[in-house]
């Protein structure tokens, strides 16, 4: 990586240490650009919006060029050129531009991902994107101004194109005829380690219409390449372009012999200091701080002398304008921290919580008069630990907007493909959720949103016929409700058809009746394999892979509910715990052991009567709860809990639900409900069947957290 620019950088500087930060930054810029492009109102595009989009491309280009990712730099350079013309109002934005810019953003993303992964193989070509962008950038150019640059005050007004501008004889024209005002130049590239590098220069002329023509000239030096170029671009523009492939020092541009147009930049503007070709910086004459000719030598001499010490005054200053939402402000008030560090911190706080609980438990028997100070200290510790835990957990919390922001783009593409009109509304994007959960909820949500767009929203004509607005609306919302977050995907489409779902269920031999409540009917779409085209509509159906969605959400201790009204739309609500690191649990005792059940899966508990339990084949038992039979799982048998008190037998049952199925767990006692700090058993020990994790109780004992999904599956098969 970074081979292109490192050569010139010298051995002292290893730019690769900045790659990671650049990748993150470029990713953010691409996200932001995409977001702004999607929000762009083509009819009356706001200057600030266009500038913002331009800046994103510009930043990526600058970084990519600096860190040597020339493919990304080249693509973003093209995007920038188009955006530059847009923000200067030289072009009117049209949908095709948004399309190609979005595609280019995607392409940049994948190129960056390749660099990040250190891929060595052939990169996917962006030539066609580059061509499309430059066509759009050039397509609406007024007849005589092919250059992206506005006309220069000093250069003569470009004459109408001469009928045929003959290139020097050995020239092999590879591009469109040079535009008006063309100059004939000789470009010498080298010395190069691999002369093929110069081929990329020729491709520039092929890819950028209006740049001009290029052809090979014979060259006697094996490390050099000589080209004849006809162009109306300035030398510095050419240098900027060439710099994507070769270093500027390796380029020499001279006027071709007998050419009328010279290398005009060498003359420059009278106001501006002369920049020799290939020079990448300059000073304004007589400008404040500009070096006098001899100052350069002086400055170098100064280096030998010990540098004068300058005392830095740091005056603390309250930020005058703490504008929330301002990108710049965010930059200066946030830090990037490795997730591992945060996790370690959370882990340590978890340990602290456990220690605190142990101390609290052990102090219960102490005399409060005798140990007043100790107990007061413990009470403080309790409060502080809880606050600390809360603050630390909040570090891992990220806003739902991270997930929501990907959907407008997805829906736009989907709607385009299906010929539908869909509008997306998002609510509560600021609602925060644990990072781990955000990552895991993204796929199921994507599925739900796609389902809504694909199967829920009708075609515009169909909507109009039903008296609905042509545009379908999909509303994504997130909100906190107690210790959970509720995410809703709502559409105003055709809704679920109760009749068709029931018919389909009967076909599949499922036990259904017409008396079932709507809620129960909607739950049927979560049955495994309940995903056929004719479920809901004649074209295709909701329910595609809904069982997978439900399983994934259940794995996060979450639940899914569907509400629908035929003809009016569907709402899918996903309820998730705020974090995976802490869980509301119900502790139950079996023999001497304590087990934790996730509270979200507990339905009810009751004292069982012997006559309600029936033993069926192979000793398995069923219990009748309000006319419903469900399998009984005796935890003592599953975990082979040793029993010292042989006379006692379990009489308490806890009904738990997972994946739409219920089982009754037979336990000895219900101990209580509390928050537990979840410890991953897999990473500390190994995977244990029927167990999803472990926690440490107040008295220091380890309690296993049961995997309800696993237990239910076990009982059902």
């Amino acid at each position: 990586m970074g081979e292109t620019y490192q050569e010139g950088a010298g051995a002292d500087f290893d730019l690769s240490q900045f790659y990671q930060i650049f990748f993150e930054e470029a990713g953010e810029n691409l996200d932001q650009m995409e977001h702004m492009l999607l929000d762009l109102d083509l009819e009356k595009a706001d200057d600030e919006e266009l500038n913002g989009i331009f800046r994103c491309a510009h930043s990526i280009k600058g970084g990519a060029a600096t860190f040597g990712f020339s493919d990304v730099a080249e693509l973003t350079h093209q995007m920038e050129s188009l955006l530059d013309r847009l923000r200067r109002h030289e072009l009117q934005p049209i949908p095709q531009m948004v399309d190609v810019l979005l595609e280019s953003a995607d392409a940049s993303r994948s190129l960056l991902a390749r660099h990040q992964a250190g891929a060595q193989d052939e990169a996917p070509s962006t030539a066609s994107l580059v061509r499309r962008i430059s066509e759009l950038a050039a397509g609406m150019v007024p007849a005589q101004g092919a250059s992206v640059e506005p006309p220069k005050p000093q250069s003569p007004p470009p004459p109408p194109p001469p009928p045929a501008m003959q290139a020097p004889s050995p020239v092999l024209a590879v591009a469109a005829p040079a535009p008006s005002g063309a100059r004939r130049l000789e470009v010498r590239i080298g010395p190069l380690d691999r002369v093929e590098q110069a081929e990329a220069i020729k491709e520039l002329f092929r890819d950028i219409p209006g740049l001009g023509t290029i052809g090979d000239l014979p060259c006697d030096d094996a490390q050099m390449r000589l080209f004849a170029v006809e162009t109306s671009s300035t030398d510095s523009d050419l240098l900027d372009l060439f710099a994507f492939h070769v270093s500027k020092e390796q380029v020499r541009i001279t006027a071709a012999a007998g050419s009328a147009g010279g290398a005009e930049d060498a003359q420059g503007d009278a106001e501006v200091a002369v920049v020799p070709p290939g020079e990448a910086y300059g000073f304004f004459s007589n400008a404040p701080g500009a070096p006098a000719p001899e100052a350069v030598a002086q400055a170098q001499a100064l280096q030998a002398i010990e540098p004068a010490s300058v005392v830095t005054r740091i005056v603390p200053k309250a930020s005058a304008e703490a504008k929330a939402g301002s990108q710049a402000q965010m930059e200066s008030t946030t830090i990037r921290v490795d997730v591992k560090k945060v996790d370690q911190l959370i882990n340590l706080v978890g340990e602290l919580v456990i220690t605190q609980a142990m101390l609290a438990q052990n102090s219960l028997g102490l005399d409060s008069a005798e140990h007043q100070q100790l107990l007061a200290g413990l009470a403080d510790l309790d409060r502080n630990t809880r606050d600390l835990q809360e603050s630390v957990m909040s570090i891992r919390m990220i806003p739902m907007s991270i997930v929501f922001s990907r959907f407008p783009r997805m829906l736009r593409d989907l709607a385009n493909k299906l010929g539908k009109k869909v509008e997306m509304v998002t609510l509560g994007e600021a609602t925060e959720l644990d990072k781990g959960l955000v990552e895991k909820i993204t796929d199921p949500l994507t599925h739900l949103v796609r389902n809504s767009g694909d199967h829920g929203i009708e075609l515009p004509a169909e909507r109009l016929a039903k008296g609905k607005p042509e545009h379908g609306t999909i509303t994504l919302s997130a909100s906190h409700q107690g210790g959970s977050i509720v995410i809703e995907v709502k559409d105003d489409g055709r809704g679920l058809s109760r009749e068709k779902i029931l018919n389909k269920a009967r076909e599949r031999g499922m036990d259904v009746s017409d008396q079932m409540s709507d809620a129960d009917v909607w739950q049927l779409i979560f049955a495994p394999g309940f995903s056929t085209a004719e479920v809901v509509t004649d074209v295709s159906g909701r329910g595609v892979g809904m069982d997978v969605v439900k399983r994934n959400i259940a794995a996060l201790n979450g639940t899914v509910e569907v509400d629908s009204s035929e003809g009016y739309g569907t709402k899918v609500s996903v309820r998730l715990p705020l974090t995976l690191a802490i869980m509301d649990g119900m502790s139950v005792g079996v023999g001497e052991e304590v087990y934790i059940l996730p509270l979200s899966s507990v339905v009810e508990s009751f004292q069982v009567n012997a006559e309600d339990v029936n033993t069926v084949a192979q000793g398995s038992q069923l219990v009748k709860v309000r006319d419903e039979y469900m399998p009984v799982i005796a935890l003592e048998k599953i975990f082979q809990v040793p029993r010292f008190d042989l006379d006692k037998s379990s009489t308490i049952m806890v009904v738990v639900e997972a994946e739409g199925n219920r089982v009754a767990l037979l336990v000895d006692e219900l101990l209580g409900q509390h928050q537990v700090v979840v410890k991953n058993l897999e990473s500390n020990y190994r995977k244990v069947p029927n167990v999803s994790g472990a926690t440490i109780l107040g008295d220091g004992r380890v309690a296993l957290i049961l995997d309800i999904g696993g237990l239910v599956r076990r009982a059902r098969h």
Partner: protein, 120 residues
């Protein structure tokens, strides 16, 4: 030690510039855009300003203009980093009172070379 105010909205460019200049023995104050730079310039002793041209809120040329209005910054060198070395940019830079410009991408050695020419 001389202090350089490095102004760029891109964190990676800022880090790169800051790393390069610190390595060359300068104290570097970072600012995320022109507006931020104006505030930082007031609260730090600055010997040179190195500013990106294209930034949100206040760009490099705007920053130069504002700094030059303050007698304290009348004479310190201000260099503009730009990807476009067009005459138009140069004119604007000169009019605002910039000392010079440096074209991006540049390599770290080049940056130090240019800085050494103007810092005193």
């Amino acid at each position: 030690m001389q202090s350089i105010l490095a102004v760029d909205d891109s964190p990676s460019m800022r880090k790169m510039v800051s790393f390069t200049l610190s390595g060359a023995g300068y104290h570097v104050v970072e600012a995320v855009d022109g507006q931020d730079a104006l505030e930082k310039a007031q609260s730090h002793a600055i010997d040179l300003v190195l500013a990106d041209q294209n930034m949100p809120r206040l760009d490099g040329i705007g920053l130069t203009r504002k700094l030059r209005e303050d007698p304290k910054f009348k004479t310190i060198p201000i260099l503009i980093l730009t990807t476009e070395s067009s005459d138009q940019m140069k004119q604007a830079g000169r009019a605002a009172g910039a000392t010079g410009w440096l074209v991006k991408p540049f390599d770290p050695n080049r940056l130090i070379e240019v800085i050494k020419k103007v810092i005193r």
